[in-house]
Structures are given as structure tokens and as C-alpha cells.
Symmetry: C2
Subunit: 496 residues, 2 copies
């Protein structure tokens, strides 16, 4: 008989039942070839004594092995390793018993997808000047937590726990439709609304559904990198047109339309990403007219509509669209919190249906419990109260950040005070490379993007977005102070 106690190591300090441990050990030995097909196994009584376990445990292990087809019982002869197993090369012990350290490589060919070059965000423990994130300390956490619990505790929760509408929770679609119509002059019905996981899923679905390989798509130079990645993933031919002080250059778009068929134009008219400029009214109208004339889709990403400080927010292109030219994409991630990934697409029903088809095989549906909870925050007025509070705080922070930036950094930086949004597009003087500012700042405990994520592929702008919304006034003072020190040290190094 084989030395089973050495082959079958039983671990007591684990949650795996002993009978399963024994069965697994047999499987490993069979696979290794130590127990070839046809091998007679010892009786359960003998094995129980050998392994110092109860006989019932061995019986259970054998039942498991029988059920899985690893062993077979021949009446009045005994139990044998199944003869139906293919004869494989015995595997080496080391491979099978290795400790679970991560397997790194695939056994099949794997090509790195360079279209999807995801920027790696630096980790920071200190102060962080981000891309323009909201301050989650202001997030309506208590209200959300309460709403979530209420939804789950209600008798009607059952319908929210099972599969539901691909397009999203009906209540939230109705609330969003009303909110968009009221606040932005859109003319939607709930059927025009698809609730997504953040605006990113809206962009992804739209790019994959509308764009076929080789389609010409116009984007700003520069543009939101996630949108560019989505278009490239769909095989688009990306055409870049300049973005000026008054937004994307519509004349350049028109010139391209005259030359070739254009499938779509991607814009962030309210606060262009990354430069924060607003598309001027006349350019908006002209763009819409061009879309109607040349039959291209306008994908309008309005990611932070709700935060505008100069006047009331400017109405989106979608509010003037009567011909179904605009796919309007927005998000609550900046309003509530980035990890509460609820966004939406407002578009003609025929497009919503196509987006739903693709969404059906990506994640089936959203989170109906969370969506219902957010719908109730809208209905109770909690969303509006929160937005008002956040708007006031961010307005103050924008002003203070810009004031200190000017005072402390002087001619080292060039920026315009943004009309809205959560970030300042800041160009640094060419004699101080952002790469070095970022690296040296990190040593002082200040995180700042080196700006490469915002650069078009072929040149370095030495500019970055500086988010002001997530820092309170004290933190703004500290962050601009550290930034100023970093820049000073780089500009006027003290030689040893």
C-alpha cells in the first residue's frame, strides 16, 4: 500500500472539511500519476486507521470521488481509480503543491492593448490636488444611508432585489427626466433616459453603438482621454480640431464636413475637459446646424453641469435639439460622490434601445436599490439642498485657490479663472517642467498630476488640471504653499 499518511496531509486549521481535503489529495495524486487508472484503493476502514480519522470521513471522501468520476467501485472486487481517465503525463509535485502566489502569465497568447493606455494615478498619503473631484466630506452620506436602508426594509424591496429594467429604475428615470427638463431646458420623457454606471458607461455604450471601424469622428485637441479611448476601441478615425478660448473651433469642424463624411462630434461645451473653457452661444447653434446639415451625431458630455459660478449654467446643446442630433450624457458622480456611479444618457428612444442591447451583455442592469434611494433623495429635495450647499463651498474654494495661486506662484503659472467646474487648467512656465514639480512635490507630501494624461499624443503642454473642490480653505492654503515652495526650489536651487 502507498504511504497514504505522507501523501495526504490533513490540515486542521483550515475551513476545508477533512473529507474534502482527502478527496482533493486523491485527485492530485491521480493527476500526478501516482495512482494510475485501475489502481486498487485500500478499504475505508484501513485508510481511516492510517489517516487517523473517522471511517465516515473516508466514506464521505470516497463518495465524493465516486460522484466526480475519479474512482469506480466494482461489485465484490473493491474500489479502483477510474479506468476512464485519460493517460496524462504526470505533473511535477512542485507545480501542484505550490503556495498560492499569483500566477502572472497566461498559457495562451496575450497582446497588450495599447489603445487602452490607462494612466496610472500616483498614490498619495499627503495632500492631493486632483483632477477636479468633489469633496466627499460634503457628500449626503447620512441621507443616502438612510434612504438605502429604507428602500431595503420595505416590503417592495423584493422587486428591487431581482432582475429589473436594463434602462434603469423607473422612478429615477422619471426624476432625472423632470430634473433635466426643469434645470436645463431639455424636453425628455422617461423613455429618453438610460441610467448608466457614471457618465463613462454612457460614453462607452454610445461610442461602441454608433461607431464602426473607419468612421470619422471629430474631437477637440485636447480632449477627455476616456472618450478618445472609447472611440479608438471602436476603431474610429479620430480627427482633432483646435479648442480656443471660446471652445471647440466650429469652423474647423465645418471644413472637415465639406471634405469627408463625419459620423460624430464629441464635445464638452459647458466646461471643456481638460481646459474648462465654455463653448460660446453662436458656436453652439452653428454646431447644431452643422449636425442637421451633415447628419452627424453630437455627443455632448456635460459631466459637471451643476457647478457653475459665473451666472446660471448655460443651457446644453441638447436643449435646442429638436431633430434628435444630440446624445446628452451626464452624471451624478460629481454631485453625490465619485463611487456612487450613477450617470445617464438622454437621447431618442431608438438610440436608447440600441444602448440597452449592448448594456444587457455588459452588466445586465444597474443597482436598483441604489437608484431607488437616489430617486428618493431627488424627490425629498435632498439633492437640491446638497447641490446648493456644495455649489457655495466650491465657489468660495475656486476664488480662494485662484487668489492664492496668483499671489504665491506669480508668473510661474498661467491660468484663467474657470466659470464653473471643479478644476483650474494651469499652464506652468516652460522653465519648470511639470514632471519635476510633480516628483518634487510628492517628496513634500503634495500630489499633483504631471499633466501627461491631458496631453495630446505628440506634444507636451506642461499644463495640468488643478482640482480645487475637494480641498477646504486650510488645505488650499497648505497645498498652494507647498506648490509654491516646490516651484521656488526648482527655479532658484540653492547650490550646496
Amino acid at each position: 500500500m502507498l504511504p497514504f499518511p505522507t501523501l495526504i496531509a490533513i490540515q486542521r486549521n483550515t475551513n476545508v472539511p477533512v473529507n474534502l481535503q482527502i478527496a482533493n489529495a486523491f485527485i492530485i495524486q491521480i493527476k500526478k500519476g501516482l495512482l494510475p487508472p485501475g489502481t486498487r484503493l485500500p478499504g475505508t476502514r484501513v485508510l481511516a486507521q492510517e489517516l487517523k480519522v473517522h471511517r465516515k470521513t473516508i466514506v464521505a471522501a470516497f463518495e465524493e470521488l465516486l460522484a466526480q468520476g475519479w474512482i469506480e467501485t466494482i461489485p465484490s472486487r473493491g474500489t479502483f481509480v477510474s479506468r476512464k481517465l485519460p493517460e496524462g503525463k504526470p505533473k511535477e509535485l512542485a507545480q501542484i503543491n505550490r503556495v498560492p502566489e499569483p500566477l502572472r502569465q497566461t498559457g495562451y497568447a496575450l497582446t497588450r492593448n495599447s489603445t487602452l493606455a490607462v494612466p496610472v494615478l500616483g498614490k498619495s498619503t499627503g495632500l492631493r490636488i486632483d483632477d477636479g473631484f468633489p469633496d466627499v466630506r460634503l457628500a449626503p452620506v447620512a441621507a443616502l444611508s438612510r434612504a438605502y436602508r429604507n428602500v431595503l426594509q420595505r416590503g417592495s424591496a423584493r422587486s428591487l432585489l431581482t432582475y429589473s429594467d436594463i434602462a434603469g429604475n423607473a422612478w429615477l428615470r422619471a426624476e432625472l427626466s423632470a430634473y433635466l427638463n426643469e434645470s436645463r431646458g431639455l424636453q425628455t420623457s422617461p423613455d429618453n433616459i438610460l441610467i448608466t454606471r457614471g457618465s463613462q458607461m454612457g460614453i462607452y455604450l454610445t461610442t461602441q453603438v454608433l461607431i464602426s471601424a473607419g468612421d470619422n469622428v471629430i474631437v477637440g485637441d485636447t480632449n477627455y482621454w476616456v472618450a478618445n479611448a472609447g472611440f479608438r476601441q471602436a476603431g474610429a478615425n479620430l480627427l482633432r480640431v483646435p479648442v480656443h478660448e471660446h471652445g471647440i473651433c466650429v469652423e474647423a469642424i465645418e471644413a472637415l464636413c465639406r471634405k469627408m463624411p463625419i459620423r460624430a462630434v464629441f464635445v464638452t461645451p459647458h466646461h471643456h475637459h481638460p481646459t474648462t473653457v465654455t463653448l460660446r452661444a453662436d458656436r453652439r447653434i452653428r454646431l447644431l446646424q452643422l449636425a442637421e446639415a451633415y447628419r452627424f451625431a453630437i455627443i455632448e458630455d456635460d459631466y459637471d453641469y451643476d457647478f457653475h459660478y459665473q451666472s446660471s449654467p448655460i443651457l446644453p446643446l441638447a436643449s435646442a435639439d429638436t431633430q434628435g442630433m444630440v446624445v446628452y450624457i451626464g452624471s451624478l458622480c460629481k454631485v453625490i460622490a465619485p463611487s456612487i456611479r450613477i450617470g445617464y444618457v438622454a437621447a431618442p428612444v431608438s438610440l436608447i434601445e440600441e444602448l440597452c442591447k449592448l448594456r444587457r451583455i455588459i452588466d445586465r442592469q444597474g443597482d436598483p436599490i441604489l437608484e431607488q434611494a437616489v430617486a428618493e433623495l431627488f424627490r425629498e429635495g435632498e439633492m437640491k439642498r446638497h447641490m446648493k450647499k456644495a455649489l457655495k463651498a466650491y465657489h468660495q474654494r475656486r476664488d480662494y485657490f485662484c487668489q492664492l495661486l496668483k499671489a504665491k506662484l506669480g508668473d510661474a503659472v498661467d491660468f484663467r479663472i474657470p466659470d464653473g467646474g471643479m478644476a483650474i487648467w494651469t499652464k506652468f512656465s516652460n522653465d519648470i517642467p511639470l514632471d519635476m514639480i510633480a516628483r518634487n512635490g510628492a517628496k513634500k507630501g503634495l500630489y499633483l498630476s504631471n499633466g501627461r494624461i491631458y496631453d495630446p499624443e505628440d506634444r507636451s503642454l506642461n499644463a495640468t488640471r488643478m482640482g480645487f473642490a475637494s480641498l477646504d480653505l486650510d488645505e488650499i492654503e497648505e497645498a498652494t504653499g507647498l506648490l509654491s515652495q516646490t516651484v521656488q526650489t526648482l527655479r532658484f536651487p540653492i547650490s550646496g
Copy 2:
């Protein structure tokens, strides 16, 4: 002066501020051409009298219009419609003032994607024999609600409210890795785990990352339609091989491998979808050997591993994979509740990284609050307690459903008692078309799929999945009773 009071209708019973209503009305009139560029506007005082509002409201409306660029002020001359507006054709009043009923058609060309033929699920108010869904009445709702609230109320919630790891919450990855290693013999580290939105996102990401247009992919005949749709979306050339009593025919796979390069094989070995058969041990090993020899990826969808009644669950292919051939996909949706969309992929790190790149532009990340809450349910043993309870209930329901099906339907149906899972694959006698059973059943208040969703494209199997898990014993009795009545009436119609 134009009759402004008739042009500018102020609504009091709306949440839109009056100044914004006035500004929007002006924009509409400018766009319609009623107020062409250069038109002089009346003074604020006059207009306030005309419209019966406070003068400050008009001033605010004009400030808004100025900020947006619709009007301009020429010092000592007055306020005019901006000259920079392009001259557009005036739009018709009806178009602009239409009530928000849903816009149906896009203004650009939209092709229906027939690759993504999403089956429409019938709505039912009565009893529902589903595809094999869990009973959400058993879901650990109270524990989940408590865990969710605890997570949100903790000081550390801040880090869970902002952007986080694309691959998922670190705690849950660690819990899942340990759980998979313990329960299924996998050898993963947390770095091998990507948390997805249900197993569907795991399948979608894997198909899109691994498959290029024209790649040969082998699937079962029949197969889970969502996987087929994902492969087709990626442009795969789908090759179908038969699925027998003992699972997918590995000899047929081998024959195809000899003829042409194979990129991937998709299998649901534990409980094949839709037929519920289990892949026999020798076929599993042979399939893994083939993958190593021909360097194809095995995509192993193990969607309901945790529910197996005959013996302990059979270990996944992934547990015997030392070469990184298997992409292992699972889900907690069947364990907790379908709308709690947490699934996972276990695979070599290099593939996880590629999946993350695509995931980054689809939905950025999962829900870290929910993931943290679920991690805590694992840690507290709540998940295991719940699974044990559910397993016991479903085992009993399977037995009772099968018993009544046999007793009440007799030779009208042909089925095998499934070893596990949540549904019975049931073939109906050819003289009673499922389509008619489904239609007539609905009239009696019984929903049953007509089975077309499970059919290969070119033939009708007259078979369907009958989920037993979501019905309690009384409901099973009622459902099988209604089904029996429906079938009897179809087979032996009482003539007038």
C-alpha cells in the same frame, strides 16, 4: 415693442426660477428668428411692468443672457440681441414648444445591431417559473443593510466614496481569493481576482479582450446566449460542438483543434447552461490537456457553483490549471440576490491587467461601499450561513418540483433531475409546442419561457429551463398544477 407678455409665458407652478424662464423664453424667440441679431431690447423697467415681475428678476434674466452671449450691451445705447449669432432658419413654433413626449428617432443614421438580439422577457403578475433565479425572500437583506450602513458611517468611508481600484475593493478581493481557494481548490492570490458587475461583465471583458475579429471560438450546442452574443460582438467565428449527457464533447473539440487555430473554448462544466449537465472528470482533464497542447484559453463560467445537491460540488477546471489556461468566472448574484451585481474573474495577473484597462473606460470601477459590505458578510460568516440555508431550501424545492413534474405532467415532459443549480432542463413532448404552453399558461397567471432563448439559431428544441429555487413548496404545487392544466387543455381540448 413686441408683445412680450404673449411671447414670454411665466409659469408659477414650476420649480424653474422666473428669471431663468424669462431668459429661456428670450433664447427661444432669438432662435426662432422673432428677435433677429441687432434687435434692441426694451429696458428692464419697462419689461418688468409688462411682465408683472420685479425689475430685479429682469436684471437677473438679462445677466444670464449676457453671460451666455445671446445679448450684448452697447454703452449709452442699450441692450441688443447679439450680432455674433449665426443667421439660422427660423424654427417652427410647434417644434420648439412641443410637450415633452419622447423623441423616438435619431437625426443621424442608426443601424439595428442584430448580433445583440436581446430576448424580451414577458412581464408577469402571477406565478413565474423563471430561468433559475434565487429566492430573494431568503436573501440576507437585514445583514446586508446593516453592513452597508456600518460601512458608510465609519470614518474610513471617505476613501470608499471617491475613486478607487479598478480591480475592486481590496478586502473583498482577499475574501474571494481565500473563499475560492478553500471551497474550490483554486490557487489564487488577491492579485488574480478582478471584481466585476456580475459574471456577465466578466464574460464581456474576457470576450472583448481575448477575441479579435475572425478568431475561432468553440462553444457548446446549446450555450448561454449572453456568451454567444459577447463573442459575436467581438467578431468571433463561433464553432458549435455537441453537448451530451456528460457535458461538452471534448473529442469534437480535439478534432477542430487539429483542423484550425482555436482561440478559446467557452464551457459551463459544473452545470451546463441551459441543459444543467455536468462535465465528466475525464473530459475535464482532457480539455485542459488540449488547451495546453493547442494554446487556447478555456473560459470557465461557473455561475452557480455553490448550489450542488448530489455530492460536494465538483472542483472547477481552474483548480487543476497550473499553466494559466483557464479564465475562471463566477458570481455572487445567485448567492445574494440578482440585483447585487458582484461577480469575479480569477485569472493570471497579465490578463487581469488587460481586463482592467477595458473596464476602466466602461464603468471606471465597482461600488466600493457595497463590495466592502459584502466582504464583511464573508468575514463574519454570514455568507456561509446564508448559503447553507439556501442550499437546504433549494435542495428540497428541487426534489419536490421534480416529483410533482413527474406525477402531474407524466409523459408530456422529459427531464433529468439536475445534480445542482436552480433549474430543470425540460423537454416537452413535440405534440405540445412550448409557445402555446407559454401563451395559454400566461392566461391562467403562470409565466413560463417559451424556450426560444435557449434554442440554437436553426432549430426549435421545444425545451426550456424551469427554475425551482425562487418558488416555495406551496408555489411549486400551484405552478406545477397550472402547468399541468395548461398542458392537459392543449392535449385534450374540449370541443364546444
